[in-house]
Amino acid sequence: MVELKIGQEVEMEYGGKAKVLKVIGSGGQGTVYLVEFNGMKWALKWYDINKIKKPKDFRNNIQNNINDGAPSNKFLWPRYLTKENADGTFGYLMELKPASFDSFVDILNTYKIVVDPVTGRATKQTVRFTSLYAMVTAVINIVNAFRQLHRAGKSYQDLNDGGFFINVDTGAVLVCDCDNIAPDGSNFGIGGKPGYMAPEIVRGVAKPNVQTDKYSLAVVLFKFLFRGDPMEGEKVVKDICLTESSELRHYGQNAVFVYDPNNASNRPVRGIHDNVIKFWRLYPDYIKEAFINSFTTGIMDPSKRIIENEWQKLFIRLRSEIIQCGCGRTNFTSMFIKENDKYRCPKCGMEFSTLGFSNRDYRMPLYIGCKFYQCEIDPDSDDFISVAGELVENKLKANVIGIKDCSEKTWKVKMPDGAFYDIGPGKGFPIWNGLEIDFGEIKAQI
């Protein structure tokens, strides 16, 4: 193992030296170190050159990616290459992840191990999203990151649960391990991680590309929401031991989705796949159908896989269908009783009015604190982070509930007197039974 030593200095391509401080982690292709370069701390990925098939091409590709720059600020993108050692070994620097981000692996495990720097004692610390809003926002962010990458004409190639850092309070996402990203159609040897690889890669008939990324993305999203493996059910568990040939069968030749409506041979097993069984019943049909499509018709026909833009729309809808009930229950509208245009909490009986938008066939439940976003009132906007409107209580008149214009535009709003008034940024208006809002191209009404 050609490992770097603590305190060792690594020469950078364009001068200067990075000093190795400690090991951060290791992956299939090398080790990541904390280093100091130009007075700043960076992460250095240092390759185990034996594991790289075509080191020269691989290095050139990273150089190209550095030159192109990241598709957006959601990527911990390669920044500087090191010089090559005599044996061809090299690495690259990238920014460190902020401390407020946890790895997706820790989220799936529901805890992280924190080692006390003084005593060396390891303790478990819970990692979970602090709100359902943050959780769904994180999913939207993941999908959006890959949309941006694919729009830049590149594919990630090794999409798996190790590739993300997530802020569990806000849902912000950082995509890491960007070193296998390559122009669509190129591959520098990486195959992917078992369980995440598209069946055609497992079978040996395709190499990673944008279409196989879409399969891996669906696996990541399934793991994220349902906390289990989409292809591991009764049929797979029956094998007891996952040998190479059973892996080839269950993830390649004969991969069967656990909730394939036309093939019940691989359903989740109680006692093993409890998360999947539990969460499958919570989610609305349009989410379940997207996964069914991805993992049934999408298995054999890569062109039928859900595209990122479609996922993004579905998850933006999912976020707008969250209800935080006064009784403390927070869930999707699919878990509330629908009565005409209203939702009722089955636990406490509280009723929720809904707002209908002219460009969607579903209605958004209204409760104090619910929000809609810029992309939901402007068809040209891709901004799902900036809040456009929020349901709030009037600060001066208790018990009067209204919508605050948090956007930068003026809306036309129909008031109880039947007339339309201009509502500018920072202003608000009460909700009432005949409420109509004109956002411009999109309109909404109660």
Partner: protein, 283 residues
């Protein structure tokens, strides 16, 4: 060649894998408030991997060898604690053999909770008895009783001498065990007495047999083998073939064992020469 493990060591439990098919009974779903929080997930379901260490604790291991081995294992375990990531639950089982064979803990222990108990060396080398004991425990009723899916185990043998009992008989018992057959096998010979040919009988291939002649090498080899073996199957892999031809069972047969052999050989050939006093000098 059979696709699944189906010899006597593994009993299929029909009842335990009965599928729990969920009927969409909406009303009862809506009313089950105790378990409907989208945020309250338990840890993602994992596949199980047991790493077996078979360690020679006979008298000849006394001194530097045992000291090095204890130290490197103490250091290694925290280092590879997260090796299973979110996909695999990794457990360790340590079988020591000298005049008697004994397990460090009575069942495999999760790597996150595993604490190394320092071993002492004494007695003769009952390797055959160790093989028999391993064959006995590597079963669904024994140490491989995870209800979920398992990976074939990793079995890592470390010894510094020649067996003092009939190892061939023990090996025969192992060879009848499917977990052994599909398992990833590696061996480390320590010092001049250890016989690599004999170790290759255990691993089935020379590629996963390594040798250490000094304390520094011992630490390095244990690390190389343990880390590499525990990562195979769970880390991203490079494409094995350029031909773009449909892979069949033949192609993947013992693929992980071959890959382990390749990777170990690459590391061994690239490892720096560690200048320390050989095990056989300075006594």
């Amino acid at each position: 060649m059979s696709n699944t493990i189906n010899n006597d060591n593994i009993e299929k439990e029909e009842n335990s894998t009965a599928a729990a098919v969920e009927d969409a009974d909406l009303d009862s779903d809506l009313l089950d408030f105790d378990d409907d929080d989208p945020l309250s997930a338990t840890s993602v379901s994992k596949k199980s991997l047991v790493i077996f260490f078979l360690i020679d604790t006979s008298g000849s291991m006394r001194g530097t060898k045992m000291g090095e081995l204890n130290t490197v294992m103490e250091e290694l375990i925290p280092e590879i604690r997260r090796v299973g990531e979110a996909d695999t639950e990794v457990k360790l089982a340590v079988l020591t053999f000298s005049t008697n064979v004994s397990w460090m803990y009575s069942t495999p222990v999760n790597i996150e909770e595993f604490e190394w108990t320092r071993l002492r060396a004494d007695g003769v080398t009952s390797m055959g008895a160790a093989f028999k004991e391993l064959a006995l425990r590597m079963s669904r009723n024994g140490f491989l009783n995870s209800p979920s899916l398992s990976f074939a185990p990793v079995i890592f043998l470390m010894t510094d001498g020649y067996p003092s009992d009939d190892y061939k008989e023990g090996l025969k018992a192992l060879e009848a065990n499917s977990w052994y057959k599909f398992g990833l096998k590696a061996a480390l010979g320590i010092g001049n007495e250890a016989n690599d040919d004999m170790l290759a009988e255990f691993t089935g291939t020379k590629d996963t047999v390594v040798h250490a002649y000094s304390g520094g090498q011992l630490a390095q080899m244990i690390k190389i083998v343990a880390v590499t073996a525990s990562q195979i199957g769970s880390k991203s892999m490079t494409l094995s073939d350029e031909s773009n031809k449909e892979i069949d069972d033949e192609d993947v047969y013992a693929a992980k064992q071959k890959l382990l052999g390749q990777q170990i050989q690459e590391y061994v050939n690239n490892s720096d020469e560690v200048e320390t006093v050989s095990f056989d000098t300075g006594w």
